[in-house]
Symmetry: C2
């Protein structure tokens, strides 16, 4: 990969963890955040952790404009508004949505209803000229952040309707030690992958785990 | 397990495969079908395959009445009507729903909208006095049917709101060689587990596999 990956919402746990692992694997990363200073502070922290120089920080608009491939890792609440504001900057780019629209109550997590069907399909509607994929929904931020975890034991389901785009995202999963990218279907089947995070949260509570998912019989 | 398991729709591939494996593991099984003769024919075939005597066939009503634990493995189209007709016979019993409401078109499989949220939640509404769980959505019928497959490489996510019932279903998964039952959340989180079958169908097409799911970091 000689492409630069931008991480919108790169100061949150999921975005930060993936940014760290990608940078460790030699990929240039731009952290995006609402405030450039917060992005720069996270970039600085990650440069120290990863021991590399190729991590920079920008505001989200700058991140979207400069990166070749863009991961959306913002909270669900701000998802639609942010993507709408970045439509022009993201034209023609591969966009990876890893957002899980979940609610929480005293019985745990549950999926929120999304009028477009899923966060990924909302992205597809708001970014008609981007190449939208969905992936990295289930990777534990805790395990990503902990570099003493030398192999992250999980597959990453990659969804999308553009073969070249999903192939690239499968590769981007595979650069993280232990992780394997697997094509997981078209974007219309993204909802259940996003929502399955609620089940993994239930698994984590019951078994005190950082659960991931492996697909069997695929070699 | 000294309880008898009934399999409604036990002449279809999923029900038949699970019945075979349970009977092999020593559990008495009753095959249910709309027509008793078809159920008896399948029971006869499975007795031969498993080399055991404790598999019988009944019509669905007889199966529901006689079994202690009942698996619903009928096509989605007949799901609601059948359960409504069996409400009295299923009072107090543990019911396991493994039905995946899916549609198919030229782009593959996709989840159908279910007004109650999921097949399992429809069962819960139609069987208010039963102990409804959801499980066995992703186990490959092909691998179950093939006794030369000595270990079926998959976990089974078990959902439900009744701890004793989900614990029993976890055990029932565990008697199949290679299979592990894992608690996967409350019944309100069943939809995405059912719908994930559409993604596994996409995986199977792309990778020529009989894909299953393993949950990592749970020991």
């Amino acid at each position: 990969m000689d492409q630069t990956v931008g991480v919108l919402g790169g100061t949150g746990p999921q975005g930060k963890g993936l940014a760290l692992r990608w940078a460790k694997a030699g990929i240039p990363v731009i952290i995006g955040s609402r405030k450039a200073e917060r992005a720069e502070a996270t970039a600085d922290e990650l440069r120290g952790l990863a021991g590399v120089e190729h991590i920079t920080g920008r505001d989200n608009a700058g991140c979207a404009a400069e990166a070749d491939v863009v991961l959306i890792a913002v909270p669900w609440e701000g998802h639609g508004e942010l993507l709408e504001s970045l439509r022009d900057a993201l034209v023609g780019k591969i966009v990876i949505d890893c957002v899980n629209p979940l609610g929480f109550d005293n019985q745990g997590a549950y999926p929120l209803r999304v009028p477009e069907g899923s966060a990924a399909q909302q992205a597809e509607q708001l970014l008609p000229d981007s190449r939208v994929t969905a992936a990295f929904h289930h990777v534990s931020a805790v395990l990503l952040a902990d570099l003493s975890v030398s192999e992250v034991d999980t597959d990453v389901l990659v969804l999308g309707d553009d073969r070249e785009a999903t192939d690239l995202v499968v590769s981007l999963a595979g650069v993280i030690p232990g992780v394997r990218g697997i094509y997981g279907g078209r974007l219309r089947n993204a909802h259940q992958v996003e929502a399955l995070t609620a089940n993994l949260i239930a698994v984590n509570r019951r078994y005190k785990a950082h659960a991931g998912v492996r697909i069997t019989d695929v070699t």
